[in-house]
Symmetry: C2
Subunit: 97 residues, 2 copies
């Protein structure tokens, strides 16, 4: 069963562009992972947040991605400038859509 | 500038599968629209809702889609069984991700 999640990340004031660059780097890295079928980085029009839409082949694939060296490096870069992370949704995608 | 939105739709009790079928029909129809670049239907794992992730070439393209006959027919079918609609996010996708 594939697995998806939507996260809403907000940087500390003045660091949105830096956070965006880190997340776009994550998108490029995750798209190389064969178990990741989507990693879309979106700039919110509601507020200063960045909305990330991810889909993985399974919940285990997502969990494994968190321990990748690339992911750990990117989390380390993002942590000092993160003001807030909110999980908007966790879901089962309907394949083909 | 492309435009995206995430909607969270909840059916009245007992009608989630019917709402899901209507939204999958919408996905099939919207994927035929050249201005729609994504229309993903996802079953929430948090609650009884369905989470729809849409991306359009522009905000105007999204607005125009609402007046399509197909859309109006599907809205007409969904309305009687809808308990709630919430817009989780509106955003500008970063192309390529």
């Amino acid at each position: 069963m594939s697995y998806g999640l939507i996260g809403k990340l907000t940087a500390v004031p003045g660091e949105r562009e830096t956070l965006l660059a880190i997340l776009l780097e994550a998108a490029t890295a995750m798209e190389r992972e064969p178990t990741c079928t989507a990693y879309r980085v979106n700039v919110s029009l509601d507020d200063e947040s960045i909305v990330v839409y991810e889909v993985w082949e399974s919940i285990e694939a997502h969990q494994q991605s968190l321990s990748l060296e690339t992911t750990q490096t990117l989390i380390g870069k993002a942590r000092p400038i993160l003001a807030n992370i909110e999980r908007l949704a966790v879901f089962e995608p309907r394949d083909g859509h």
